[in-house]
Symmetry: C2
Subunit: 312 residues, 2 copies
Amino acid sequence: MDQVQKILQGDPRAAARLMTMIENGSPESITLLKSLYRHTGRAYVIGVTGPPGSGKSTLTDGITEELRRRGKTVGVVAVDPTSPFTGGAILADRIRMQRHSLDSGVFIRSMATRGHLGGLARATNDVVDVLDAGGKDYIIIETVGVGQDEIEIVRSAHTSIVVAVPGMGDDIQAIKAGVMEIGDLFVVNKADRDGADKAIMEIEMTLHLGKGTDGWRPKVLKTVAVKGEGVAELAQAILEHQAFLQQRDGRRQKGKERSYWVFFELLQERLTTRVLEGVASNGTLDGLIERIAARETDPYSAVEEVLKKAGL
Amino acid sequence: MDQVQKILQGDPRAAARLMTMIENGSPESITLLKSLYRHTGRAYVIGVTGPPGSGKSTLTDGITEELRRRGKTVGVVAVDPTSPFTGGAILADRIRMQRHSLDSGVFIRSMATRGHLGGLARATNDVVDVLDAGGKDYIIIETVGVGQDEIEIVRSAHTSIVVAVPGMGDDIQAIKAGVMEIGDLFVVNKADRDGADKAIMEIEMTLHLGKGTDGWRPKVLKTVAVKGEGVAELAQAILEHQAFLQQRDGRRQKGKERSYWVFFELLQERLTTRVLEGVASNGTLDGLIERIAARETDPYSAVEEVLKKAGL
């Protein structure tokens, strides 16, 4: 049986192998992804974001458990901007999820930034497709931080969850910046700490300032994920949002938005690679950079030069 | 006198006007940037990053003051992934820097993500060039979060500073992921809190695992930025790193790395815009996205189709 068949039947090892190929940028992975793509689009995608230390992993763990209890299968993609140098930290983080490791209904994958010139978002989208084609009912994408790519990854989910913790002071502001308008659900985790009600109030006040474009009124929930408190309610809220989208044709709309984002990321990556390879192959790339660095040309003129040579 | 002349003479209003044009993606801004570019390359660029709530703004404020005390002029670029929806938060954040507002030797600019399809890194690079051409001796770029673009923005600086705070537990791990290897200097801010020494020890341990490639041994410093403690030492460490780079031809090397990054970001943005406009102008973009969403084609084949049409 070939790798595509195995993945479609939910073979975790075949899926993991393809994910590694995706991360390494293997050309073969593209052939496989093309074959898999028409089997995607069934999974419901949940995005979870929030600052470091907000307990996203524990919450993801809790949501996974609730969905399993309802008989649903779950894929988890943890996006960590990291490097070989710091791979250990990620490993430690993932250990928390190990209690699902013997459950064939759960598949967990950590994504790391390998190179330093993009590609993380594209690779994450590809891994989601592999899980989707493999029949996972729900896919949870978890991202650290408030970076632009990370926001987009979560925005492209069907349900986006923004996690905050009480008593971070400035952090509520930092959370607002960028992710406030993408949240369908807001979670104040570690809600047994001082300041939980204040954090909830601040989020609700900010929500009142904005207006949802799709008729959904974002919810704010309290959890203490390490004790499992509020997690069932969170899972319930996810299912409500899913039902809401289903009723209002929102799922098709979100699917289209997601397709645009996936297409855009891929186009950007492949275009740049294609054109840069062209410049590098005739040995002019290094010279061009030297000239920019020496101020003999400027970046805009250099890019125009390259575009012209590429016939664009 | 034209706008370029005014900017070169350090006119803050002319500079601010160009920065707004850059943020709005005005085509005229490109003409101006091309004229300015050969006057850049003199400023020393400092990148400051760390998680929300770590006190980056206060530290930046302190560094600015120390540099001013030494008679140096300073530009500050605060990169906040935000939106019109949340602009208020940023404003509040900037108020802390207001004590420099009457000092013509300091120029402060907040950058916000306008659209949601990239361009922040490119715009930030352009704003740095405007400050550089305007004669600022030092430019401090401050970024929130640990996103991929944000890491690259800081990496492209001459001196990169990574800020942590004690007692964040998991956060030290999250900080390690992605930014540990880009730091020339590490600052444990709010060092009057419990756990400062532990945080320092953890950072030093992680540093021992990695090895610097350029001969510089990263330093770990303690600060209490709100009280000004340790800030003079931090400024001193920045100057030491600058002297180190100067001695070892490191500045030229970093300049070249920065040129590559600037070129890459710009190429990526302009290529994608150019090609997407082509697809959009003949009305096929929407149809293409529909077909991807309906699984009639896959993103890889769709991108290949577009590349082929563009003759690439």
